[in-house]
């Protein structure tokens, strides 16, 4: 046994006795017993039911089952293995973070084809959740750009796959939340960008119906759209918000210098629950709305503020108090009609669900990846502080989403019931079939797969 494996064993064995010390959690900070190991060499990592990256999924996707409380984090396996300056093709170990990637490649004029709203994610996590960004309506999900994955499958073999190689395994792994195997390496092309700056236009929108209409219109002209909604305002201004449209700035309009990142700001400790209570949420949203004083604004913004506004406060999840938070993100299909967002908000407000942030994005075509989240329509994301009634709130929202033909995003979920998930996910059976081909005993699993896929605990 290698020394690493020996220590892993030691820690693993001790973890039962010291369970109060060894806790792991997702971004939502609901802790469960478990040990996280961070080896540098993933090929020699101890045998674990699950890999994880930076733990930025909110719920239990990255948490190991209670019967085998060991999860391997890839963050120390972060080497760039190949980069072609001409084609932009990049191959790297799965633990490479988007933060490191941007630091290296933005100055060289390259950017990831798809980025989520935080830089603190790994390539492995971006593949496993098949992340989407503000450009989904034009560029699809991250997985649609991946050329090759190297995966350690259940029998210990390392398999190369891609859209044209072991396609089934590939399509199950992209968006498959770590359940088909351990992703070791990822290969995909970076996109060339004209400058590292963004040209942005923003617009104050009086209500949610107008917001959705303008969001869909903007999709024809803008490669990147996103927006924020105040879901506490009522009546005719229900869902008033700000719509942001952007594209990479051209050389003649951007500053000549390279944008600097802000220094990290940290939340020093877990905040009392009241900090993000209803009143402060109301004040925040009111302030945000009216700080956009002019109806329309335009200008050059730096990419960090544009793509990763929340990253400036390092541990902002501590702001949600001891019980943590959950994010509810669903997609409502176009078929649900242009007023679906309003009906969703009406349901939310009638249930007293306060959300600090409510982000509505446009979704383009569905990917071929078996469990990829987006489908043509709009995605709504809410950050919700966990309270006694959170389960009931999520249940009600899920009933609505099922009735409208939508679905939820696994990377955010912690509360959905299995029967709800099965009703919103007709692709589940096919995913499970492929999964069993590669992993007949379902060796790979997470707390989430036990909760939603019916895996043995």
């Amino acid at each position: 046994m290698s020394p690493l494996a020996r220590w892993a064993r030691l820690v693993y064995e001790f973890s039962g006795m010291r369970s109060s010390e060894s806790l792991v959690s997702g971004w939502g900070r609901q802790f469960v017993p478990g040990v996280e190991l961070r080896p540098e060499d993933l090929h020699r990592a101890p045998r674990a039911p699950l890999f994880r990256g930076l733990g930025r999924s909110y719920g239990d996707s990255s948490l190991p089952p209670s019967s085998q409380p060991l999860v391997v984090s890839t963050v120390r396996a972060d080497r760039i293995l190949a980069f072609d300056e001409v084609t932009g093709m990049l191959r790297a170990e799965a633990g490479l973070s988007l933060k490191a990637l941007n630091r290296t490649f933005l100055p060289k004029g390259f950017f990831v084809p798809v980025t989520p709203g935080t830089q603190f994610v790994t390539l492995g996590g971006m593949v496993a959740a098949d992340v989407h960004g503000k450009n989904h309506h034009v560029d699809g999900c991250f997985g649609s750009h991946v050329r090759r994955l190297s995966i350690e499958v259940a029998d210990g073999r390392i398999v190369e796959c891609g859209p044209d190689l072991e396609r089934e395994l590939f399509l199950a792994t992209v968006g498959g939340m770590g359940l088909t195997g351990h992703i070791l390496e990822v290969e995909f092309p970076l996109s060339r960008i004209p400058t590292p700056w963004i040209y942005q236009e923003s617009e104050r929108v009086p209500d949610v119906d107008t917001y959705v209409r303008k969001l869909k219109e903007a999709a024809h002209e803008w490669p990147m759209t996103v927006g924020w909604i105040d879901c506490l305002s009522r009546g005719s201004s229900l869902g008033r918000g700000i719509l942001l449209k952007g594209r990479w700035a051209r050389g003649d309009e951007a500053p000549a210098n390279f944008p600097t990142e802000w220094p990290d700001v940290r939340v020093p400790f877990t905040m009392p629950e009241a900090v993000l209570g209803r009143l402060s949420v109301q004040a925040f949203n009111f302030g945000l709305y009216w700080s956009h004083f002019a109806k329309q604004k335009s200008g050059i913004v730096d990419p960090f503020r544009y793509f990763y506004p929340l990253d400036f406060i390092k541990d902002w999840n501590l702001g949600y108090g001891r019980r943590g938070l959950t994010q509810y993100q669903c997609v409502l299909p176009d078929a649900a009609g242009p007023d679906a967002a309003r009906r969703f908000l009406e349901l939310l407000t009638s249930r007293g669900g306060a959300s600090f942030l409510c982000v509505i994005k446009d979704c383009g075509p569905q990917s071929a990846a078996l469990l990829s989240f987006p489908m043509p329509g709009i995605s709504i994301a809410l950050d919700i502080a966990v309270r006694d009634d959170t389960q009931q709130l999520i249940d009600a929202l899920n009933e609505f989403v099922i009735a409208e033909g939508g679905r939820i995003y696994l990377a955010k979920d912690a509360f959905t019931r299995r029967e709800h998930f099965e009703r919103m996910e007709p692709r589940l059976a096919e995913f499970q079939r492929v999964r069993r081909v590669w992993d007949p005993t379902l060796r790979f699993k997470s707390r989430q797969s036990i909760r939603l896929f019916g895996d043995a605990p």
Binding site: P3, L4, R6, W7, A8, L10, V11, L37, R38, P39, E40, D41, R76, R79, I80, L81, A82, F83, L90, E93, T104
Partner: protein
């Protein structure tokens, strides 16, 4: 700078080599596993500033015969050499070393004798070129005879003394010696061990070490807090050290 890093494929060596390459220094990566060397070489080329040289050269701390050739090859590949950094080494717990004499022999040999032999080759090479910097990772474990690190600490104690002497003897001739004493740093090497207070991250340690190299500081504790901690431990009387567990 034109630097050799023995041990750059992992942990603190990896972090340090990246910082060097990113700021524009040429780096020769020395290590024993050729596949690992290739991967780390590619990583440094992709991350490094434009125009730097990156070389990968096989060198095994368990095979002293290859030391001179590896340093010669590095000098050739980088078109010169002014800095030699050694982060490689073996670690095992006191219990493992007490139980396994073969492992003990390996650890003592690699962490003391062979590291010194490598440094001697580096010393000759750098002095022959008119001077430079030799930066070697020892450990706080060598500062005091302590229960959990008797054997590993003994090898590191010897290494630290050697480096101190080297600095006194040759600084006047232009060879600066930097002895790095890492406390507990979270790397693959310490993975799974329970981290004590003031545990460091490899990137932060690399920043500190880089500053020490640039300024030619003879000794650096990393994280710096360990300097204070060891200061206290060094001052404790024996009857206390016999009782406490650290």
């Amino acid at each position: 700078m034109k630097a050799v890093v023995l041990g750059a494929t992992r942990g603190m060596g990896r972090a340090l080599a990246r910082k060097l390459a990113e700021r524009g220094d040429s780096v020769a990566v020395l290590g024993r596993d050729s596949a690992e060397l290739e991967r780390s070489g590619a990583d440094l080329r992709a991350r490094g500033a434009p125009g730097i040289r990156v070389a990968t050269i096989a060198c095994d701390l368990e095979k002293p015969d290859g030391f001179k050739a590896a340093l010669d090859a590095a000098e050739d590949a980088l078109l010169g050499l002014d800095t030699v950094i050694v982060t490689a080494g073996l670690f095992a717990t006191q219990e493992a070393l007490e139980a396994d004499p073969a492992l003990l022999a390996r650890v003592l040999t690699v962490d003391f004798s062979n590291t010194v032999l490598f440094c001697e080759e580096a010393r000759k090479k750098l002095l022959g070129r008119g001077g430079g910097t030799l930066c070697v990772f020892s450990s706080v474990a060598g500062d005091r005879g302590r229960k959990p690190v008797v054997l590993y600490g003994a090898a590191k104690a010897g290494l630290s003394r050697y480096l101190e002497g080297l600095d006194h003897r040759y600084r006047g001739q232009g060879l600066k010696t930097v002895c790095v004493k890492p406390g507990f740093v979270r790397t693959g090497m310490t993975e799974g061990l329970k981290a004590p207070p003031f545990a460091g991250e490899p990137e932060a340690v690399a920043d500190q070490v880089l500053t020490a190299i640039d300024l030619g500081l003879p000794e650096v504790y990393a994280p710096a807090m360990w300097g204070l901690v060891m200061g206290v431990i060094k001052g404790l009387p024996r009857f206390v050290m016999r009782r406490v567990g650290f």
